[in-house]
Symmetry: C2
Subunit: 132 residues, 2 copies
Amino acid sequence: MAAEEQSASIDPNRPMNILDALCPSRDVLVDLADKWVLLMLASLRESGVQRYSELQRSLGGISRKMLSQTLRTLERDGLVLRTVDVKMAPPLVLYELTELGREIAEETRALCTWTEKRTATVYEARAAYDRR
Amino acid sequence: MAAEEQSASIDPNRPMNILDALCPSRDVLVDLADKWVLLMLASLRESGVQRYSELQRSLGGISRKMLSQTLRTLERDGLVLRTVDVKMAPPLVLYELTELGREIAEETRALCTWTEKRTATVYEARAAYDRR
DNA sequence: CGCGAGTCGTCTCCAGAGGAGACCATACCT
DNA sequence: AGGTATGGTCTCCTCTGGAGACGACTCGCG
């Protein structure tokens, strides 16, 4: 563990401010502001519950390493619930959003739909920029 | 430029799907799903227009390198407008959101406010996870 | 019965991204 | 003259992310 600049503990009197590098909320944002996290939230929001390998096929292009890592981050943050059925072999592992996870997945939905809707516009802007 | 798996050109017939690694929209999402991008959108949304050094002070903890890099990405994507006043010395450089940028900054607002509101809950979830 | 395939991961290796800090030209303030 | 500010770029160096191997187990197929 590095002696890096660590966010202070939560002080109910000081308002949360994402722009402040030392605010605890910055720490949470860092977890969320990630390609795989947003895609995972989207996939689990649509499908309800998925197993490990289903998620891998669903999130096109994700490696097993990032799949495990992202799932554990979200599980630790209380956004994803992991359930193992030990009776099965190979074990059946299921992932689904918690109530908190469903909340944030709802908030990030707009980001995804905007992206899909505006992709063509962004592509045109890029082409125009590159032409200069 | 690597011969990496590149997103295909835009086909109006095929619907956009962020979960597809080859869909052009994935490419746009990758630009947006970034800590500094979300913070920059938030800062410019609040302040309207800011100069380079103001932005650096506003986005707590950002390095000049990432500031320049993020600004150029957003400018290329058509989300940020850069204006230079050459008459000034040292030159006055201003950054502001374009119309497209204001659109996406509006969509990401919910993500930021949710984060600030739910930070305490996430911190509790992390503590509970780490205790096990 | 042996073989390939599927499940749910972990481990190692390597290239690339991100952060820290130096450097630069210019101009203003004291 | 020296310190400060502006808007960057450039060079390190570390850390992260992706590719791919490996593992233990079980099922279906021929």
